[in-house]
Point group: C2
Chain length 338, copies 2
């Protein structure tokens, strides 16, 4: 699929500052020790992609702005909680370009802070009596957690197939993207068919997002990534480009041999990445992602036209744009700059 | 207060097996890896004190048994989640007399399993559209988590006063006991005054429970505790008997001196505990607990008579009974056995 660069961006109606203020308000406890941790966590806001999806999905149809604000905040709280716990699990030292919460305040505080954030999210969803939202988001968290447990001990499993990879990234990323769009729709006056469409859009966007993330891990500079290149491979996380290469007769055996020699995997990282590029596996993975973006856009057909629908469509592109200079080297369709 | 041993116990109406089955059902994911973890966690059921409080508080008045079953299960799920996360935080190896979840399956799985349990709890509360329950329980979790964070770095703080101690055990234990009774009442046809009474009862019971737990840590055999005697002292957790001793002119200085020499604290454990006994601090702490139990019983005055009210009253005694042989050595009022 041809991914055109997004057109000049108009003023973004997403009320980032309002959302940030509400996040700060809902995580203020009055205790200096707890508040210091929460303030640190909220200092770097990240892209706020999930609350943006909630917001724009809701804003397509008539909606209560206070409810939308709070549900968008709840989704960000849940995302933050899962990041904080993931960093404890992975003993990650960096997050958003600075010390992770666990590196700064210890695992002890981080596990508790994550639990606090989950509880704060459910508390605010409940305040608006959004039972369908609660049903969806609690189920989504269960899918995410069980997915992560299922992945334990799967490092360096070279037998992982496409279906398993897609199940993995569904649980890791796509289900929360889908949920964000779905609950945005649920809190607006959208009908069930619109809600289904928006959920499917979010799902496709989530798949594409994770595939791009996995590709970038292999081909971007460490400066862009904020972590070492090839981190997934050295950690034994077998992602789409590797899976595709392992299915290609020309290079499967060589890649497999290199990946199986775990002790020298760091040393052969350059050779592995080169093989992934030269075998076309990187380009093919990008193609998978752009296919998802195309399908995602198709799911938006027939939804009420307007600024928010445009932004949802553009959201697909905006995060691709960010990586275009890198991805464009490997995927010819990405080269057509405006 | 004179604590009489509880009278001969009639058949317990608490549907322990039903609750256990429902717990198993709600934590079954279909994935063998996740299900193995959940099954291990549920193998040892513990005392199920909190779901019992929900059940009996609800059963005082007309109620929907399916709702009561599920909300009791939700409270146990939340309690389990917090135990699992606490064991990760404390690197605890033992829980309920066998390997803790983290010792058996690692921190990684335990953090995720705890999150899964929280989400499962909120999911089931939401299914019954119990907004007041959800409000109360999410708030309670926030109180518990922020309390634990506040306690960080407070080890060996000998300046802790009574007020701080009570705030600590409120957040650690009493608030979830209070919440269990309150939400049991909320899901029955109790009026607001009954709900307030039951909440206060749970609160007093929770305070007493934690004080007894803190006393037992000092004077019970390690066989009863399932952990070394004086664990709180060696970990720097300053509990009520120590606080009381630090207020007594006769022994404050000597105890303080021993507690301040942290490197030799394990060696002086016997001397410290002896001083706590001889200064009457242990007896005084037990008196605090029995006072709470008495106050708890008073809060039950005027509630609809019947088997469930009797059981709530007896609950105060039943856990004291368990420790009576030990506590009776230090508190004269406890000696009167039936």
């Amino acid at each position: 699929m041809v991914i055109k660069p997004s057109t000049a961006v108009k003023a973004d109606p997403f009320p980032a500052e309002l959302i940030q203020n509400r996040l700060r308000q809902l995580t203020r406890t009055g205790n200096p020790k707890v508040d210091r941790i929460m303030a640190y966590l909220l200092e770097e806001s990240g892209k706020m992609l999930r609350p943006r999806l909630v917001y724009h999905a809701a804003a397509i149809n008539p909606h209560d702005p206070i409810v939308v604000r709070d549900i968008a905040v709840a989704v960000e709280l849940i995302h933050l909680a899962s990041l904080v716990h993931d960093d404890v699990i992975d003993s990650a030292h960096l997050r958003r370009g600075r010390e992770s919460l666990n590196a700064r305040f210890g695992n002890h505080a981080s596990v508790l802070a994550g639990d606090y954030l989950f509880a704060a999210a459910f508390n605010i969803i409940n305040r608006h009596q959004q039972n369908q939202v609660m049903e969806n988001i609690t189920h989504t968290i269960q899918v995410m957690c069980s997915g992560e447990i299922m992945q334990m001990g799967q490092a360096y499993n070279l037998n992982i197939g496409l279906e398993e990879y897609y199940d993995k990234i569904y649980r890791k990323t796509a289900c929360l993207f889908a949920s964000s769009c779905k609950i945005g729709s649920l809190i607006s006056q959208a009908g069930p068919e619109q809600t289904r469409q928006l959920e499917q859009f979010g799902l496709c966007l989530g798949y594409a997002y994770q595939i791009i993330d996995d590709v970038m891990d292999l081909v971007a500079d460490s400066a862009i990534l904020g972590k070492p290149v090839g981190n997934d491979i050295t950690q034994g996380n077998i992602t789409l480009p590797v899976i595709l290469a392992l299915q290609k007769e020309g290079c499967a055996e060589r890649i497999k041999a290199l990946l199986e020699r775990r002790s020298s995997i760091a040393a052969s990282l350059g050779a592995i990445i080169n093989m992934l590029i030269e075998s076309g596996s990187i380009a093919e993975a990008i193609e998978h992602a752009t296919d998802f973006l195309e399908r995602g856009q198709e799911h938006l057909a027939g939804l009420p036209e307007g600024e928010n629908l445009e932004i949802l469509k553009r959201t697909c592109m905006s995060f691709i744009d960010h990586y275009r200079p890198v991805l464009g080297r490997y995927h010819p369709l990405m080269e057509r700059q405006a």
